[in-house]
Each structure stands twice: as structure tokens, then as C-alpha cells.
């Protein structure tokens, strides 16, 4: 079976597995760090974009629009290859995390904004009438309700961030994809690439199913 020897060569896969696992570990670290940082950034951008003074609101709008428009690969290359010219030299991990966080933060901000705006106005009025200040209203009343609405789109965004970590291989970060291409070069066999693809799918498929489940449940709940 030539096809198996070429694409799913067990001996090659076994030899390259330690490299792939190293890469996977880095991919997961980069993904997790960028998702968490993007969540925090996005929440603050959303709140400032909704409630700050007008110039700040416009600034947040600008940030969101720019970072939703710029291709991630372009941003990553600018951060890694262009910023050193102004004396800002980031490691490949820091560059990738910065780029992923900035873009994820923009999408996350839009998701939070929509979630907050979906809360009925009466919830804000009841909070105000009880004497809660703006921060208490957000923390105790609005955000706990908004979180339920934003979990499916936030999970979708997390899937995208993890997929996009593969772009970090172009700035020489030894992530899963980079390790796979190196293993391929070492073994002169493409099996490690197939192995990497299978690992990506194995990690992301459950998340995709989770989003579908949440969306089904959310819509079902609303109809009831």
C-alpha cells in the first residue's frame, strides 16, 4: 500500500510524535493565552464602546473596525518583522500572542456589545431604581445574563483563535504546524503533516459540536 506508506506511515508518525506533541503543547499555550487576553480586552473595549465619553467610544469603534479588517497574517508579519525597525523586538510567541489577542479582542468586543444590548432595558431601569450604580448594575445584573447569550459566539471565536495559531509558524514559532513541516523535512515523508491535521481536528471537533449543542439549546429554550 503505497498510499499508506506515503501519507500515514506508522514508523514515521511514531518517530515524529514527540515533535508533534511539543508543537501541540505550544499551540495550546498560545491559543489559551490569546483567548483569555482577548476576552479581557474585548470586555473592556465593549464597555468603553458603550458607556465611555464620546471620543473614547469612537476610538473603540475605530479599534474594532480596523482589527476586524486587517488580515491576521499581515498583522502578524507587521508585528514580528516591522516593529523591530522602531526598536520593539518581540519573541515569536509574544508577536503571535499580540496579533491574535488584538484581533480576537475586536471580535470579542462585538460579541459582548451585542450580548449586553440584548438585555431588556427594564433590567437597567430596575437596577437604577434600586440605587445600584453603573458598575454594580453591570457586574450583578447585566453581565451574568449577557454571558449566557455570548457563550456560543465566544466559543466560535475561540475555535477561530486556535486555528489561527497555525499562522505563528511563519514567524518561526515551533507550534504544531511548524513542527509537522520540520518533521516532514527530516523524514522526507508527509505523514507528520497528516498527523498534525488529525490532531487539530481531534481538538476542535468537540468544540464545534459544543457550539452546535449550545445553539440548539439556546434557541429551543427561547421558543419554550
Amino acid at each position: 500500500m503505497d498510499l499508506f506508506d506515503t501519507f500515514l506511515n506508522v514508523a514515521v508518525l511514531r518517530r515524529s510524535l514527540p515533535m508533534l506533541l511539543d508543537g501541540l503543547w505550544l499551540t495550546l499555550q498560545l491559543g489559551a493565552a490569546s483567548i483569555v487576553a482577548g476576552l479581557i480586552l474585548g470586555l473592556f473595549v465593549a464597555l468603553l464602546g458603550l458607556y465611555a465619553v464620546k471620543p473614547v467610544r469612537l476610538l473603540m469603534r475605530l479599534y474594532i473596525d480596523i482589527f476586524r479588517s486587517i488580515p491576521l497574517l499581515v498583522l502578524l508579519i507587521v508585528v514580528y518583522y516591522a516593529l523591530p525597525f522602531v526598536g520593539l523586538r518581540l519573541t515569536s510567541f509574544a508577536s503571535a500572542m499580540a496579533a491574535l489577542t488584538l484581533v480576537s479582542g475586536a471580535y470579542t468586543a462585538e460579541i459582548f456589545r451585542a450580548g449586553i444590548q440584548a438585555i431588556p432595558h427594564g433590567q437597567f431601569e430596575a437596577s437604577a431604581a434600586l440605587g445600584l450604580n453603573q458598575r454594580q448594575t453591570m457586574v450583578d445584573v447585566i453581565l451574568p445574563q449577557a454571558v449566557r447569550i455570548v457563550i456560543p459566539p465566544l466559543t466560535n471565536n475561540a475555535i477561530n483563535v486556535i486555528k489561527d495559531t497555525a499562522l505563528a509558524s511563519v514567524v518561526a514559532m515551533p507550534d504544531l504546524l511548524k513542527q509537522a513541516t520540520q518533521a516532514q523535512a527530516l523524514t522526507a515523508n508527509p505523514s507528520p503533516l497528516i498527523g498534525a491535521a488529525l490532531i487539530y481536528i481531534a481538538f476542535l471537533w468537540p468544540l464545534v459540536l459544543f457550539v452546535s449543542y449550545l445553539e440548539r439549546r439556546y434557541h429551543g429554550g427561547r421558543r419554550a
Partner: protein, 244 residues
């Protein structure tokens, strides 16, 4: 001595003048019902008292002498003024007890144990002590509105604003909410009630105010205003509501 004083209250939506210069004084402990056709500005009026609606800067509202202006004094006013809404506006992610506990804990800094006791006492007072651990969506409309009343009472307000509290209820649940309100009226709390319930106004109010077109048209005791109105617009309105 007026507890709530309203001077030349005007409110614009764009160029439309929703409130056209209202003067009103409400004494401590007084129960006032505001009636009038929809769009007359009666809800807008009471929503100005705790400044859920902004109003013309030249107008003045004071509660217990405190001006209702944005900033620190507004927090003081809102601590003294409770509100019950037509649509209940309970917090759906919190249990009934937590709905009542939230404001005392956050605004007054009451301990969890104290706030819990307070909530249970108030829920017993509105007759739904046994529902304390349920979530609002599992209660009937009448029960939800009684929770909303308990939630407003938890801040020990001097004034309670009711914005058409029974209008969203099924007819068989109106009575249980009005009964709670009647009991409250006898406790000495000041109540300002926007309502279509003429029977409630007749039995409980010290004073009834008829509004139309953003103005106070007529004001008087329930007997005088409801039985022998002097203004033609009041007569027309009462004729339309009472004769069917």
C-alpha cells in the same frame, strides 16, 4: 410640608412636549393615584421623580428636600424612592430571595445573613414566603409583581412609585397585587400610583389626579374627582372607562 415637590416639570421628546409644566406637592404618607388616557404623560411624570427620565433643566423636583439632579444626590434620592414597574423587571438569573437581597447587600452593605432575613420577612409580608428559592420565571404574574414589591421595600423607601402595576396581569391576578398595595397604604409609606384601577383609587387614595395631554387637568379627593368631576375632559375620560 411637602415630601415630593415638583415645580414646572417639562419634558420634551424632540419637539413633542410630553409634560407641559406640572406643579405638584405630595405630603409624607399621602397616597396619590394618577389616572388619565394613555399618552397623557402620567408614566413619564412618575419616571421623572427618580429620574429614569431626564427632564428640562429649568424644571425642579425635590424628594425630602434633595434635588433630583444627576450625581451624588441622585443616589440618595433613589435610595429613598422605590419603584414597581408594569413589566415587573425582576432579575431572571437570581432566585426570588436573591432578587430582594441584591440592593440591600450592594447599596447598603448589609450582610448576607441580615439581607436574607430581611428578604424572608418581606416575602412573607407579600404572601409568597414559600416561593423564595424559585426563579422568577416559575412564578405567576401576580406572584412576580408581589416579589417586585418586596424587592422595592427591601431598601426601606419613604416613597413608592407604581407604574401601572396591574396592567400586565391576567384579570384573576389583579386582586392579589392590589391587596398587597392596600396593606402598604396603611403603613404610612408615601405612594404615587399610576393606575387604571378606579376601584383601588376610590378605596385607597387620599387624592386622585387626572392628567391629559401632559398636563394636570384636575385634582381632588377620590369622591370628588371620580363622582363629581368639574372638567369636561375628566368627565369624558371617566365616562369612557366606567361605562362599559
Amino acid at each position: 410640608m411637602s415630601y415630593v415637590s415638583i415645580r414646572n416639570l417639562r419634558k420634551f421628546y424632540g419637539t413633542f412636549e410630553a409634560l407641559r409644566g406640572i406643579d405638584l406637592d405630595i405630603a409624607k404618607g399621602e397616597v396619590v393615584c394618577i389616572i388619565g388616557p394613555s399618552g397623557s404623560g402620567k408614566s413619564t411624570l412618575i419616571r421623572c421623580i427618580n429620574r429614569l427620565e431626564d427632564f428640562d433643566p429649568a424644571s425642579e423636583i425635590r424628594v425630602d428636600g434633595i434635588p433630583v439632579v444627576p450625581g451624588r444626590s441622585l443616589a440618595k434620592v433613589r435610595a429613598e424612592v422605590g419603584m414597581v414597574f408594569q413589566g415587573f423587571n425582576l432579575f431572571p438569573h437570581l432566585s426570588v430571595r436573591d432578587n430582594v437581597m441584591l440592593a440591600p447587600r450592594r447599596v447598603r452593605g448589609t450582610s448576607r445573613a441580615e439581607a436574607g432575613k430581611l428578604a424572608d420577612r418581606l416575602l412573607a409580608r407579600v404572601g409568597i414566603a414559600e416561593q423564595a428559592d424559585k426563579y422568577p420565571q416559575h412564578l405567576s404574574g401576580g406572584q412576580q409583581q408581589r416579589v417586585a414589591i418586596a424587592r422595592a421595600l427591601a431598601m426601606e423607601p419613604q416613597v413608592l412609585l407604581f407604574d401601572e402595576p396591574t396592567s400586565a396581569l391576567d384579570p384573576e391576578m389583579v386582586g392579589e397585587v392590589l391587596d398587597v398595595m392596600k396593606a402598604l397604604a396603611h403603613t404610612g409609606v408615601t405612594m404615587i400610583v399610576v393606575t387604571h384601577e378606579m376601584g383601588f383609587a376610590r378605596q385607597v387614595a387620599d387624592r386622585v389626579i387626572f392628567m391629559d395631554g401632559g398636563e394636570v387637568i384636575e385634582t381632588g379627593t377620590p369622591a370628588a374627582l371620580l363622582e363629581t368631576p368639574t372638567e369636561p375632559r375628566t368627565r369624558n375620560f371617566l365616562g369612557a372607562v366606567l361605562n362599559h
